[in-house]
């Protein structure tokens, strides 16, 4: 919502573009992949497919970017995705990287935490960037790509299975037309019309917690440090989160008490009064402008299976996660990158169709992990039973004089999920003692010239630490990266000279051998891409 007198997309700092409907004269009426939803997830999926040389058509019923969804925290693994799909530069230029969080109880700081970061890391652990910019930067990359056809003001109103995939009905201002696709990616958000059309339901828990998020513009001199205020004067007994965003925009996030109605909480004067009180808590007494506000509730809901025939559910259409893990957007981007490379490889004939069966276990597994961590965070931020509240209050009260108790307020870090047990990774080699495990995102390493991730190929890569082994691996599809052993490599990969790691296109570890042979590695590669089977 916006203040009285301002239109829906009448922002203080962002110009929402207007996208015309397609002209419809020379349009394709079929595609290997149809993507429903041109939000950040749909655009990322289209770019991930385009990276593999696969064309797609993206449909969106709106004429501009999202105004209702307001993710702001983009985590390190998502920046690798942006880099892989060729969209990274504007993200780096515009976003605010951060590493530090501070927690206050009744105005006194009880904890300052640092998220994991080091000179070995290419990206910071977290970046703040408004969702409109995220969508704009992804759209710029997708719009410039010859393999991506984006159709705005084009609503998918029906889907019907066919012998070769699905027939969509698309309605735009000129009327309805049929569109045939072999595969459909449902990137149409939390209320996913496609999910309803397929008769599927999200399952899980509806939490009763409701939160107001308000963005304000102000000239506030404070670094990009996320602040959590417990029991502040502005919200006695409550919790307030404050994040800095680009363009002097600040996000204020607070939970509503049971006795506060959503209707009243959303009134402009109520929001203004609360923001005024919160700003007083952080000693900001200068002018500010209200940009936008909304209310949301925290849920943990997911589909049992992210695939329904030729339809894959990607992002919020497949799962709704609470805000505390900062993983709604990040989790969706990882979904899009995951299905993007896999579908691309299958359509190219580089991988067998069974590779697609690994999408649900990997990405639904990641969602369940998010649920566990977010539930844990929520129990501290906004405890909803007597026991959790009593323990939380005890920890906060003790933290005023005992720092050990303040550490209980440290939120869980956002790390990429480990795909162990997935059909698209190998069984881990028990000979390893430590090091990055199979299924994990490859650890980054600073090299003399750039970073380890810069050395990876477009497809699968092999890290090896012995020149002779590197020379022995002769395979067109594998980029061999030879790294002379260093202490850092020994620490991060538990490597000795005979060790090798097989890295997937999404930078997750497909397999590792403590003492590798070229034959093992090539056989492992064939296995994780299901190459030894009939193609679709």
């Amino acid at each position: 919502m916006r203040p009285a007198g301002r239109g829906d997309t009448d922002s203080l700092y962002f110009s929402y573009p207007h996208f015309d409907a397609p002209k419809r004269d020379t349009q394709e009426q079929s595609a290997a992949v149809a993507i429903v939803g041109a939000g950040p997830i749909g655009m990322t999926a289209a770019l991930a497919l385009a990276k593999e040389g696969v064309a797609s058509v993206v449909f969106d019923n709106k004429a501009t970017f999202n105004d209702g969804s307001r993710a702001i925290c983009v985590a390190r693994p998502s920046y690798y995705i942006m880099e892989q799909i060729g969209a990274l530069t504007p993200f780096i230029d515009k976003s605010l990287g951060w590493t530090t969080g501070r927690t206050f109880f009744r105005g006194q700081q009880i904890l300052e935490f640092e998220m994991p970061d080091s000179a070995d890391e290419k990206f910071r652990p977290m970046y703040n960037l408004q969702q409109q910019y995220i969508e704009q930067f992804l759209w710029q990359a997708a719009n410039a790509h010859p393999l991506i056809d984006i159709r705005w003001q084009s609503e998918v109103t029906d889907i019907e299975d066919t012998d070769t995939g699905a027939k969509l009905t698309v309605r735009d201002p000129k009327g309805a037309y049929p569109f045939n696709a072999t595969w459909v990616l449902a990137c149409d958000g939390a209320r996913s019309p496609l999910r309803k059309m397929r008769g599927l339901r999200l399952k899980g828990e509806n939490f009763e917690g409701r939160y107001v998020i308000a963005d304000v513009q102000m000239d506030h001199d404070y670094p990009t440090i996320r602040r959590a205020l417990f029991d502040p004067t502005s919200r006695p007994g409550g919790t307030v989160l404050i994040h800095k965003q680009p363009d002097d925009i600040w996000r204020i996030d607070y939970q509503l008490e049971d006795n506060e109605t959503t209707q009243d909480a959303l009134r402009e004067e109520t929001v203004r009064a609360t923001v005024t009180a919160v700003l007083k808590d952080i000693n900001y007494n200068d002018p500010w402008e209200l940009e936008w506000w909304s209310v949301y509730s925290a849920n943990t809901l997911a589909l049992d299976d992210y695939r329904d025939g030729c339809v894959f559910f990607v992002g919020d259409s497949a799962h709704i996660v609470p805000i505390f893990g900062v993983r709604g957007l990040n989790n969706g981007l990882a979904d899009a990158a995951n299905i993007g490379w896999k579908l691309g490889w299958v359509l190219n004939g580089k991988a067998g169709a069974r590779l697609l069966d690994s999408y649900t276990p990997e990405r639904r597994g990641a969602t369940l992990d998010v649920f566990a961590n977010a539930t844990k965070s929520a129990r501290f931020m906004t405890p909803n039973t007597h026991g959790w509240k009593l323990m939380r209050d005890a920890a906060l009260s003790l933290a005023l004089t005992h720092p050990f108790a303040g550490a209980l307020a440290n939120p869980r870090q956002m790390t990429a999920f480990t795909y162990c047990g997935s059909p698209a990774v190998l069984t881990d080699d028990p000979a390893f003692k430590g090091g990055a495990v199979v299924g994990a995102l490859m650890p980054e390493v600073k090299l003399a010239d750039g970073f380890l991730s810069d050395m990876l190929g477009q497809g699968f890569s092999v890290l090896c630490f012995d020149a002779a082994l590197a020379h022995e691996i002769q395979h067109d599809a594998l980029k061999v990266v030879y790294l002379p052993l260093s202490q850092t490599l020994i620490d991060k990969f538990a490597a000795d000279a005979g060790t090798a790691y097989l890295i997937r296109p999404d930078m997750h570890i497909a397999g590792r051998w403590r003492t590798a042979s070229a034959g093992d590695i090539i056989q492992g590669y064939d296995s994780v891409i299901f190459q030894k089977e009939t193609q679709l």
């Binding site: 405890p383 026991g387 959790w388 920890a395 009260s397 004089t401 050990f404 209980l408």
Partner: protein, 59 residues
Amino acid sequence: MKHADLETTYTALALKIDEIGAEQSELFLAKLVLLLAQKNGSVNEVQVCIEAAAASLDS
């Protein structure tokens, strides 16, 4: 105590308090303190903890 063990303790206490209910939680916590004091064995350390826990109680 390591942080992970502190988190485990925190969780176990929250779950147990919810299990026994708000009305019994005060008695439960008092019993727990006596048990831990008996295990600790130092009346001086317990006395210091009593004072520390009594601080910042205003609400």
